[in-house]
Structures are given as C-alpha cells and as structure tokens.
C-alpha cells in the first residue's frame, strides 16, 4: 500500500470512479504502456521489487554437460557486472547443467539468483569467494590485497555453516567491508560440508604457483587438503586467454594428478556475456577510486570473464580432458534448493502450563476486558465473537508466536514511555486492538479481518509499528537484547544506482573532472533517468550509466525491518556490520526476506517523526503550562480543529500538510473524525483539469446525486457516498453482491489487483457473475458495472484501517497546532528531520499564526537537548541538508523567558509553550489570537471525554467510555454530518 497516486492519469481514474470505463484498448498507463485489465505498470514510487518474470529463452544444447562453479554477479559489489537474473538467463541459454553464484564474502544475491533459477528449472549451487588476509577495507585499492578461498556449500548444512562462518568473519573484522577469516577455523567449520576450489589468480594455490613455483603451490594445496579433506578440494582451471594460460593450467593439472584430487574447469565469470566488459572495467575503476586511464594496467586485456557453454569449455580445455565433466559432476553433487534452508519463527517463552496459543488467548482476553468490557456485557456488540473468530484463524495458521513477539515489542515501548502504534492492515484486527498493538477498533468500524490475515495467502501477517523516531533506536536495541544478535538482525537496504549516481560514477570512471561530473548529474532526472534534455552529456557516460542503472552498489540499513527466527539468523543469511554504530544487518533486503523461497519473517519498526513531535509537544506544554495532556485525554471533535483544516491551514500536521492534500482540504471541508479518514484516502488530483473533481467531493457538495450500482451495495458504500474508496469496501462489495466469504473476497482483491494471469481473472470473473446472479439476480449491465468498479479500483484503494490509524495522528497534530502553536512548532523543530516542510517554512508559518520566534541564545539554554530521557544523551539533530545547522531545542523556563534578550513580551499572555530553534522561544502574540492559545477549560471538560486517564499509560489510544454512552470517542461530532449516519 503506498501513499502515492495511482499509476493512472487522474482524468482516467476520475472517469472510472464516475462510472465510465474505457474500452479495453484504451487502458493505458501514463507512459503509454498498454495495460491488460487488472494489471498495473510498475508503480511509481514503489520500492517493492516486482517478482521475477521469466522470458522465453532459446536453449542451446552443445551436447557437453557443464556446470559453472565460479561466477560473480553484481552483488560482488563493483566487481561483477551482471544481475543474478541475467546470469541465470545466460546460463539457461547456454544449456548449463547448474550454476554456482560465488559473490565475495556473502550471500547477497542468492535469493534473486534462486528465484530466477527456480523459474527456469536451473539447478543452483551456493557459495562464496572468501577474502583472507585483509588488513582494511579494499575500496580505493587498485589491486586488493590478500588471498581468496572459493567455498561451495555441498548441502543445506554446508550452507548454514558457510553463512555462519561469513558472519563470524564480518564480526571479527569489526568494520564494514573487512571480514577476517581464519583458515584453520574454516577447516573446522566445514566438517566435510563444503567443496573448496583453489580459486582465481588470487587463490592461495595459483598465487603460490606464480610467486614460488610448483613446490610452493603443492604446499598450499597440501594445506587445503589437510584442512578440508581430500574429498572436498578440487583444483580450479580457469582460462581467460592470458599468455601464460597453458603453462599455468598444465602445472595446476599436474598438481591435481599428483595429489589425486579432481581438477574442474570454471569460467570465473564476472558478467554474463562479453558485451558487459566495458562496464566491468568501469566498475573496477569506481571501486579502485581512480579513472580507467589510471587503472588500465590492472585491467584484464580482453572480454574473457563471461559464461561459456559446455561445448565452448570443452574446446578451450581440450588439453585437460575430464575437467569439464568434473565441473558438471561437482555441480550435480552440490546443487540444492534454497527453500531447504527456510527458517521458522522462534518459540516465544510462555509461562508454565501455557502454549503459545493459549498464552496469546489469555493476553488477548485481558486486553479485551479493558477495551470492550466483560464478555457478558461487551461495550461493542460482536467484539468477543470477532476476537474468537480471529483467534481461531491465528491458531489454524499457526501464527501465535508472531503476535506474541509484536505484543512484547509494543509493551516494551509503552513501559519506556515511547509512543508507538501499529499501522497498515494490522488495524483490521480486533486481536491487535485488544493487545494494544493498534489503536483502531476493528469491530466498531466493521473492518474486514481477512484483509489482514487470510488462510489462502500462506504468508505470515505483516504488522508495521510506528515508533517515535527519536527513540526508535531504544526499541531496536531491545529486540537485539531480547533475542540476541545471533537470532535477530536488521534487514539491509540494497543501495542501487539511481540515474544521478550512475552518471556521476561513470563520469568519474571515464576521467571527467569533478565539476563535469556534477554538471552531468544535474542534467538527469532524479528518478526517471530522463535524459531527453541533456545538452552536453558525453555519449560514453550516457551509455555506461544506462547499463549500470539499478545495479546494487552497497548495503544500507532498511528503515526498520528486523528479522527474528528460530535458529540463529546467521545460519540463514550472513550478518555483517552496518556503518551505524551497534547495528548489524543481514545481507538481504526486505524483498529477499519476503520471498516465498525463504519466508524470513520481518518485523517493521518504523520511525515516525510525528510521534516524536506529539510527545515533545505534550512535554513542553506540561513544563510551560502545567497542563497534562495525552493522546487519550485530548478533547475530541473540537470543531475549531476542523475549521482550521477546512481552510487548508495545515502546515506541520501529519500527512495533510502536503501541497496536494492542502488543495483538497477546502473542498472536502472536514467536519468530523471520519472525514479525516476520507481525506487521507482521497486520491489527489493534480492540476484542476477540465473541472474534473473527485466524484466523492462532487457528491459531498451536493452537486451529484448519491447512487449505488445496486441496492445490495448501499450498506457497504454508504459511508463514502456510493464511491468506493477503500480496499475493505471492495472486499465487502464482493461479499455483499456475490455472496462470497471474506476469504474469497480477499482472493478476488489480490487476483484482480496484481499481475495474475488473465485466465485466472476470467475464472474469478465468471465466479463473481455467477454469485451475483444467484444472490441478487444481478445480471447484464449492472453486473458488468460492479465488476468493472471492482477491477478498476483494486489497485488504488487505500486500506481503511491504515487511513483510520493515520487519521488519529492527523487529528492529534491538528489539535496541538491549533491550541499550542508555539509548543507544536518547537516540537516539530525538535523532531527534525521530518515532514514536508523545512524548519524555515515551519517557523514562517508559526510566525503567521502570531507566534514570536526568537533566535538562538546560549543564555536561554538551560539544558539541551530538550527532552532526552534521563541518562541518555542525544546528539543535536541536524536538519537534512544543513551542514552546520542545529535545530535542537530546549524549553525555556519561566526565568529564561524574562531574561530573554528581546525582552518585551506582549503583556497579558502566559509564558506559554515556548521554544523553538536553538534556544529561541515562542511567545504568543497579542490580540484576538491569544484566546486560541490556551484551550479554555470549559471546552476540555465539556468534551465527551473526561480526561479521566490523563496520566494514562503512554501511547494508549483513546478508547470508548466504558460507563455511560458507548459512543466512539469522536461521538460528539456534529450530528449533521452525513457520513455519520452509519453509526447513529
């Protein structure tokens, strides 16, 4: 689910929402790409990798079976020059009987490799080329030091051992990019589960041959045999067309014969096909941090490092009969499926006498008692029935451990007074609500649990937790401590070349000056890579940049994904140090983890700046006013909040502060909480094009009649005036119109929405039509119309649960902006970097609202930074892009306000909120605005929400009153509001 606009021009979408469907031929994406019904182009702004789509490959069969045992992909960063998928495709084209990927010191690309290979039925061998004897990271060195050891895993056990050994080496190195292996320890770790090849020219044996002659080489080979066993070592013969090939290969083959170990031919491929050679050399130059001219002496003379077919290898190794057949045999021996290493979730420790499921049940019912009251007197009808339904499903799918882990993380955050809440589809679950993971009452909103968890999906649930960004690190470190660094690690973010970095690096490799590199990079569009208006970009830069686009360059840390599993994570995927202190990351990114081949369960702990700001604002208000507010005690449904938003006065407010949202706010004119939910989900039009306005807004303004495709859909579409806006609604439409179950509805949603085969869609379509005919007798045009609505909208709808979760924060931040503009502004500055606007714009907006902003003053800095928890020093935060700017803030005490240099404050106003940027302070301006500053007591007490739990547990969301009216917390909303009718 994304926050981006749909990949369809607004006018098309508007037509669809309004009930006009283009004939099939006109169904096109913005870039002109033709779209099949129910398919979508690659979503802009989406970082999710599309599943691998195999193309047709014509296999050649030269009659010589051969498996490649030594190949690098571009996950040998800045060394390999082909994607894993390209290597697989080329291997398939060449008719290889197997392919080993042996990237340097890691398993970075194995998931992509295995996924592609599985689609083509290519046997996979997993291995790695280990770097021994590194004294430092080797970037910037023309000829990296040390020796190489090529290790292939013989079986899944060998895979785990190799993965562990790589992790240990990275840990021992203590720094990114410098693993420290100990050859002796490797021998012990292997225990017969590895196959060792002698490697390239940097392997110990060939290197000894070059420097010390055959005797030295024999000594090295003896050492390997002694360490790993005679059955597990093979001499590698690689012919790259060097002048000394014949002599070297003869010597190596002789050695193998002498020691009675096999000799296998390999390609030591660094790219799939010869045409990538230029790129490979350019990448080598980038890695060595010098230009191609300077590196020329070290570069291979010809394009020989590519994959070769069995027949070609047989011809090349005619002097060494059997070498090619040996490679084939070894490949067959070592090949296995990556899915064999698939881990499970760890067993969660539960009190004696409980199973994970019974403990989850216990915790859920404890929470339910708080949220919904006792079972025989539930405050929300159907709550317990729904919880029971969900628990049954969780038990059936065997996911109790997942929920227990998330619950523990959330509980920890609460205990440390860290604001957090679940987002996304998890909010569809009443169990999550009862456990305190999410803040949305799924029963009250009649949210469909099946949107969150469905037996057919066969994948673990996905709960994303937003945590206040300033303190997320505490939660992450807690998870490390709780599960241990061996069992928990953060997901990597593979940093790939974007158009600009590609141009910059390639220009660097080609020897252009730094100034020229900058100028070229500026010419390119940041994301699309559009170079149509590049006036002076050299062709060679463009050509190489186009090839290197999307290449992985190095690993970063994913913004919050952590994986936890039952066995040490290091047995599944190597773990290495990140640049950031105390962080270790696995070598896979989130898409790799989610691959059905491995199914490594990921927990998303996301930092949300707005939660930091909300927390900070409450703290500042407490210090300056002595008023204690919490998210739960804030007055609900404050009409002035909606007045403010209706005027698009929303700078600083979560989500609706963007320019696009600001342009819809005055049209939507929100009047109650649910309007905010709609506002977030409303698809934002771009420019005002030919008067096309979202049909929901037209209907809401009374300019269009509210109609429903069929009376049976009225119940589900009523709250959005007949226009489908949420994914849950689409599922409900299927349920209501065709009489399906929610599980079937989820299947329809996903099938129609994703790139599935047209046959599958057609099949479902037939089922739906049949269901509609049977249930309501819907046929003909009406049936078409309903199906078209579902199909057209399947890709775009927001999850309603997600919108509700965010709307809670939108309301909270709006209320703070309205009532405590100075404290809110200060808290926003404290929480930088965050949000849409720069500190300068935030301050300018505050000033326009009558807040006085003072410049930094060391005398006003009683302590800094403002609200770091005791005993924990947080460095001053630096706003994005600012070199020496410092936006840390401290609250001005009453004393410091009076001694402030600017002295004169408007009389009659209290020393309100306060601070903003470095020690400056905001004081309210005189005039009518002052009345807005402090919320009149009358208003907050008049709220339907007595601030009964003012000091309630932090992060606890408002809940319905258990006594008195069972209305939801926005229950005081204006009765005239139309979308209200659903609940009244």
């Amino acid at each position: 689910m994304g926050w981006e606009n749909p990949p369809m021009p607004w006018r098309d979408l508007e037509k669809r929402l309004s009930g006009h469907f283009p004939p099939r031929g006109e169904n096109r994406a913005p870039n002109g790409q033709r779209l099949a019904f129910g398919s979508e182009p690659e979503r802009p702004g989406s970082y999710r990798r599309a599943p691998y789509q195999p193309g047709e490959i014509e296999r050649t069969d030269g009659g010589v079976p051969y498996a490649e045992l030594h190949a690098h992909t571009n996950f040998s960063f800045l060394d390999g020059a082909s994607h894993p998928e390209e290597m697989v495709e080329e291997a398939v084209r060449l008719g290889l009987s197997g392919l080993a990927i042996t990237d340097h010191d890691g398993f970075y690309g194995v998931v992509r490799f295995a996924e592609a290979a599985a689609r083509h039925g290519l046997p996979t061998v997993f291995g790695s080329e280990l770097s021994l004897g590194l004294t430092q990271a080797q970037n910037g060195v023309a000829d990296p030091e040390g020796t190489h050891l090529l290790v292939l895993a013989r079986d899944p056990d060998g895979y785990a051992r190799l993965s562990t050994a790589i992790s240990e080496a990275h840990a021992a190195g203590g720094e990114k990019g410098r693993p420290v292996h100990d050859l002796g320890a490797l021998g012990a770790a292997a225990d017969g589960h590895w196959l060792i090849l002698t490697g390239c020219r940097k392997g110990a044996v060939p290197a000894a041959l070059t420097t010390g002659g055959e005797e030295a080489a024999a000594r090295e080979l003896d050492r390997l045999v002694a360490l790993f066993g005679r059955d597990n070592v093979a001499v590698e013969l690689t012919a790259h067309g060097q002048p000394d090939d014949d002599a070297r290969l003869d010597a190596l083959a002789m050695l193998a014969k002498k020691l009675r170990i096999p000799a296998a031919a390999t390609c030591n491929a660094h790219y799939a096909a010869p045409e990538r050679r230029r790129l490979a050399t350019a990448l080598a130059a980038v890695r060595a941090r010098r230009s191609l001219d300077e590196l020329a002496g070290w570069l291979p003379a010809a394009a020989t490092g590519h994959l070769r077919s069995g027949a070609e290898m047989a011809a090349r190794f005619a002097r060494h009969p059997g070498a090619v057949a040996t490679a084939h045999a070894l490949g067959q021996e070592c090949a296995f499926d990556l899915s064999l290493i698939r881990p499970r979730l760890p067993d969660f420790p539960v009190p004696a006498g409980h199973t994970a499921m019974s403990w989850l049940r216990e915790l859920t019912y404890r929470g339910a008692l708080e949220r919904y009251g006792p079972r025989d007197n539930e405050t929300q009808r159907g709550a317990y029935a729904q919880i029971e339904h969900e628990l049954t499903m969780i038990e059936k799918l065997d996911f109790p451990g997942y929920f227990l882990i998330v619950h523990e993380i959330v509980d920890f955050a609460r205990s440390r007074d860290i604001l957090c809440q679940g987002r996304g589809s998890a909010a569809n679950s009443a169990v999550c609500y009862a456990l305190g993971i999410t803040a949305v009452d799924a029963v009250f909103y009649e949210l469909l649990f099946e949107r969150f968890l469905s037996p057919e999906r066969g994948e673990p649930p996905d709960i994303d937790i937003d945590i206040e960004s300033g303190r997320r690190e505490e939660v992450i470190q807690h998870v490390y401590e709780r599960y241990g660094r061996m069992h928990a690690a953060q997901v990597a973010n593979v940093i790939s070349y974007r158009p600009r970095s590609a141009v910059r690096d390639m220009a660097k490799a080609l020897g252009y000056s730094v100034g020229a590199q900058d100028a070229f990079a500026k010419e390119v569009h940041r994301y699309s890579g559009d170079t149509s208006d590049t006036d002076d970009m050299p062709a060679d830069v463009l050509e190489l940049a186009a090839q290197v686009a999307k290449f992985p360059r190095h690993l970063g840390i994913h913004s919050g994904g952590m994986v936890i599993c039952d066995r040490p994570v290091v047995e599944v995927v190597p773990v290495e140090w990140a640049r950031m202190e105390n962080r270790t990351v696995i070598q896979w990114d989130k898409d790799d983890c989610a691959s059905p081949l491995v199914n490594l369960v990921k927990f998303d702990l996301l930092g949300l700046g707005m939660l930091s700001a909300l927390h900070g604002c409450f703290d500042l208000v407490r210090e300056a006013h002595g008023r204690e507010w919490t998210l739960a005690s804030m007055p609900k449904e404050d009409p002035e909040v909606y007045d403010m938003l209706g005027k698009a006065d929303s700078v600083g407010v979560l989500q609706v502060e963007s320019r696009a949202q600001m342009a819809t706010l005055p049209r939507l004119k929100p009047r109650c909480f649910y309007d905010l939910v709609l506002e977030i989900a409303l698809i934002r039009p771009g420019p005002i094009q030919g008067g096309s306005v979202h049909p929901f807004i037209r209907r809401r303004a009374g300019k269009e009649a509210i109609t429903y495709p069929h009376p049976s859909l009225e119940n589900c579409l009523k709250r959005t005036l007949g226009v489908p806006m949420f994914q849950e609604q689409l599922m409900q439409m299927v349920v209501d119109a065709a009489g399906c179950t929610a599980t079937q509805a989820d299947r329809v949603r996903r099938a129609v929405g994703s790139k599935r085969s047209p046959e599958r869609v057609a099949e479902l379509r037939a089922e739906l039509y049949e269901g509609m005919r049977k249930t309501h007798g819907i046929t003909g045009e009406t049936a078409d119309h309903i199906f078209n609505l579902i199909a057209a909208f399947a890709n775009f709808g927001f999850a309603e649960s997600h919108s509700i979760s965010f709307a809670l924060l939108v309301y909270a931040s709006s209320w703070q902006k309205l009532r405590y503009p100075a404290a809110f502004c200060a808290a926003l500055l404290n929480a930088q970097p965050m949000g849409f606007y720069s500190p300068q714009s935030l301050v300018a907006d505050a000033r326009r609202h009558g807040v006085e902003v003072l410049r930094p003053d060391v005398n006003l800095l009683p302590r800094a930074p403002a609200w770091s928890p005791p005993g924990r020093a947080t460095p001053n935060r630096r706003p994005r892009g600012g070199g020496r700017r410092c936006a840390s803030v401290c609250p001005a005490s009453a004393r410091s306000v009076t001694t402030s240099p600017s002295g004169s404050r408007p009389s009659g106003s209290r020393t309100v909120p306060t601070p903003t940027s470095p020690t400056s302070r905001c004081a309210p301006a005189p005039g009518p605005r002052t009345s807005r500053r402090c919320p009149p007591r009358a208003r907050s007490t008049a709220s339907a929400w007595p601030a009964g739990r003012r000091c309630g547990r932090p992060g606890r969301w408002p809940r319905r009153a258990r006594t008195g009216s069972p209305a939801p917390w926005w229950g005081t909303g204006p009765r005239g509001c139309r979308c209200w009718s659903r609940w009244s």
Partner: protein, 147 residues
C-alpha cells in the same frame, strides 16, 4: 593604555542578520527573506495573501522563495512548485511546455518571480505558470526538489 576602550563595531544590518541566521540555523526567526527584497520589487507583484482577493483567471505576477519542486510520475510531466513569501504559500503548476522553455531558470533559482494565470476554485488557489524570472536574494535557502 591600549585596549581600555573597546572599538565601536558597526551593528549588523538587517540583511546581514538574516544571512547570519540562515547560515547558523537555517531559520530566519524575525522575518522572511522576501521582506528584504520586497521594497525593490515591482509594485505590481502581488503577495500570496493578496491573491485571495483577485478573481479567477487573473493574470498576475508573484514573487517568492521556492520551497518544493515536485514532479509526480502520474501527472504526465507537469511540475509543481511551492512558492513561499512573507504572507503565505502558493501552489504553482507548470506545464511541461513552460518547464521546457524556462527549465534552467525554474530549476536552478532559489527564488523566482512567476507570471501566470490564477485558478481559484472552492477556496483553493493555484497559479498556472507562464514565465519565470530569477529573483536574486542575498541569501538563498535550499528547496526540497523532486523527492
């Protein structure tokens, strides 16, 4: 005696103060950088707050600091700019044609004078840009471009 009397140093001028503020904190606490140049601007140039009083389709010139440039991939090449002056913020819509014509100026200037046609509908005001002129500020601030 030497040094018994401190030399009188000149007080910072307003512009210098703004420069120092931006350099040190990225924030100008007591005013908007546009205020410094407003007196020298053509009086025809309307402030953002002043636009609300004008009828739809009026052709106007507006000056301000560019805070954002955006190009949503779904907008078929349309570029959106956010212009900020001392009175408020304004959405500027730039067609692909206008962008191509004024790309260098529109892309590389920290502040701009934009001439265009107003679009007012239901309380939403935006400007459809026609021409761009660079506006020299003593101190520029960084815009958030194409994020």
């Amino acid at each position: 005696m030497v040094g018994d009397r401190a030399p009188r140093l000149p007080v910072l001028e307003q512009v210098e103060l703004t420069m120092a503020d931006l350099w040190a904190t990225g924030i100008t606490p007591d005013g908007h950088p546009m205020e410094n140049v407003r007196p020298e601007l053509d009086p025809d140039i309307v402030t953002v707050a002043g636009l609300a009083a004008l009828p739809d389709k009026t052709r106007v010139r507006v000056a301000g600091v560019v805070t954002h440039r955006q190009q949503p991939q779904t907008a078929a090449g349309t570029i959106f700019l956010n212009l900020e002056d001392e009175t408020g913020m304004l959405n500027v819509i730039c067609s692909p044609g206008a962008w191509a014509r004024h790309r260098r100026v529109a892309r590389d200037s920290a502040a701009l004078v934009i001439r265009g046609r107003l679009e007012c509908a239901e309380g939403v005001i935006s400007l459809v840009a026609e021409t761009f002129t660079r506006l020299e500020l003593v101190v520029g601030s960084r815009s958030r471009d194409f994020r």
